[in-house]
Point group: none
Chain length 199, copies 4
DNA sequence: ATATAAACGAGACGGTACGTCGGGTCTTTTT
DNA sequence: AAAAAGACCCGACGTACCGTCTCGTTTATAT
């Protein structure tokens, strides 16, 4: 995925066109037929590549789709800093849901989650690499809020991240990302709590 | 079809032992090898049944696993009524996580979710049948709380259910159901909100 | 290969059309492209069969080709009885060479021999089944000659069979089956010996 | 295979160590795993050479194995002259079978024959180069016998060579080279004929 | 000395085929 | 009529080699 700067030895270089063609074919198939249309064979066929070439660079289907996610998810990486947790979270989730809906990232992420249910090793990768990286930015966002004194004492930031991601995953996995107005209601409930306060 | 309503023919009835053997084999395989070990072939092999027999009664693997879930999830169906939303939710989630951890239900549910990512029809079943049924009881629980005046005005109950299920799904799908102490921290955050209140 | 008279159990019968199509496709490919064009894939492709179906009935390529040989080699099975070893041998070899040249049997047999050089198990099958069966008839021919008192005392019949088959194999494997006049010169040398006798 | 004496242009010379390492690796693999273990890849791997280097010097696997045969078959080249065809043939065949059994030559020759069944070009090489060279010495042996008046008039020397080689090939290809006592029985049958003579 | 050219390792690559697994559907026999 | 047993086509799996190509290094002439 990332190329090391120093070549360890001689030999032909990886063909970037093939690399690109494989990624693009995966995206096209995901768009046309969804995850269940993606097989190493179908990707190879469409990319004009050979199966061994794909297996040389990606250990399995999940790794291929994960790289597709990485390559298409630039938009989700920018960290908002709008002055309040409420605004930051709102920006973040609108942005994330939008990317999931409008690019192939949503389909790709669903695939990665599904695949991780089949194989413990992929689940470990999902948790320890994929999600670990993706929790960083929201975590800093919570940290900023904490620094501003916005967070209550009983808040456990990691648990709060689970809560936020859980809601998003649930909507992604049940194909309910279009009701964007729910985002702000969700944030209200989250920030204010669901219990009535009788002054 | 063309014959009268009274059974006149000598045909064999559905063999309940076969039915049971298929469910039990599915459970055993789920326990031993997890979801990826479950295939119609492997179930048929272990149950001593034939593939067509399985296909006659279950349209696909997900339906088979869903029935396994139903048959093993009695424990999760009891509705608590402990007098407060906090206590009811705590009981509910401890109970649910326990069942997911200690019976095959957790594995089965993960499978159903994963399978639903492959096929839109199964996703529809998951949402409209499986989840619809499972949201009923928690919904009544929220209703009770509302009747007691416990819920804030800005609360959207369906969204709140999504939030609760989202958190549970996230923990299930990332195999983090053992940290049961998180349940009550989660409920605290949920009920009180995460925003600091400066009296 | 041979159908047993009594069915052992229930279930669909083997589809004779598929069986036939596979054999015929093998023959066609052998004719068009020779042994190196025959692969399980190419046979399956042309026969409109699936690879698993072929593997269900034949353990490997050699077994498939061996059955082709069996099914096409009726002509070689008739045992001559013309009254003298010289005439019987002449008939036998002309017949054999003709079948090898004019049907697909020659190509098939070459393939079986080549394949047996790759795998000890196939070599054992070639010796213990394939050749064992094919040596029977010539052996009886020698027996007849012996009964007529035609054979010298120092003759070892099995060794003599090796000698005859060796000559034929050599010509087959080096594609020299057209010089049929050599057959009778060979038989003369065999019967009379190559040593000059000075009266 | 042979290096021309005059260099045509500049450039590094062929590395004799690499050449040797390739041959030796081929021999080792032939010994350990037989012909089916020999692939250009496996030879390159073991020799620490690259595939293009092998392809630069040998057009195909058969040529490589044929060179192995040449390099290991010195022993079979000496021509006996013991005064009688019977003794000469006996020496020749004992020597040949011994070399085939005790060195890698037998395995190598089987491989060359098998390979020639796959490709007409290799078959032509086998006949026109490989075998042509190997028939020379036995042919002179027969010539000597003829000069001594040992051969009957009806003998066709080339056919007689086919007969002798055929017997040896048959035994080689069916792994029956250990019964060396058969050699002299074979020669007796060959010289005296198999027909009984009633004085 | 310095181009020039070949040999060579390393290895990427498109292919073809391997032998296997599982998905669904169909036919045949048994109960 | 239902069940059981298999045969069957289909598609995909992950791997092994094939033979060709590019790349960068080394080594031996030829200027």
């Amino acid at each position: 995925m990332s190329s090391s700067s120093a070549r360890s030895s001689t030999g032909a270089l990886r063909n970037p066109q093939t690399h690109q063609a494989i990624l693009e074919s995966t995206i096209e198939i995901l768009k046309e037929s969804g995850y269940c249309g993606v097989s190493i064979e179908s990707v190879a066929r469409r990319a004009g590549a050979s199966k061994p070439t794909i297996y040389r660079w990606w250990p399995n289907k999940a790794a291929l789709i994960a790289e597709v996610y990485e390559s298409e998810s630039d938009r989700v990486r920018q960290m908002p800093d709008l002055g309040s947790l409420q605004e930051d979270l709102s920006f973040l989730l609108h942005n994330l849901w939008g990317a999931w809906r409008e690019t192939i990232c949503g389909e790709a992420f669903r695939s990665v989650i599904a695949e991780a249910q089949l194989d413990p090793i992929m689940l470990a990768q999902l948790k320890d690499e994929f999600m670990a990286r993706r929790r960083d930015m929201p975590r800093r966002l919570l940290q900023n809020a904490a620094n501003r004194g916005e967070l209550a004492e009983h808040v456990n930031p990691e648990l709060l991240l689970d809560l936020i991601f859980g809601f998003c995953w649930y909507r992604l996995l049940t194909e309910q990302l279009t009701a964007v107005q729910d985002i702000d209601v969700f944030i209200d409930m989250l920030l204010l709590g669901v219990t009535a306060r009788h002054a």
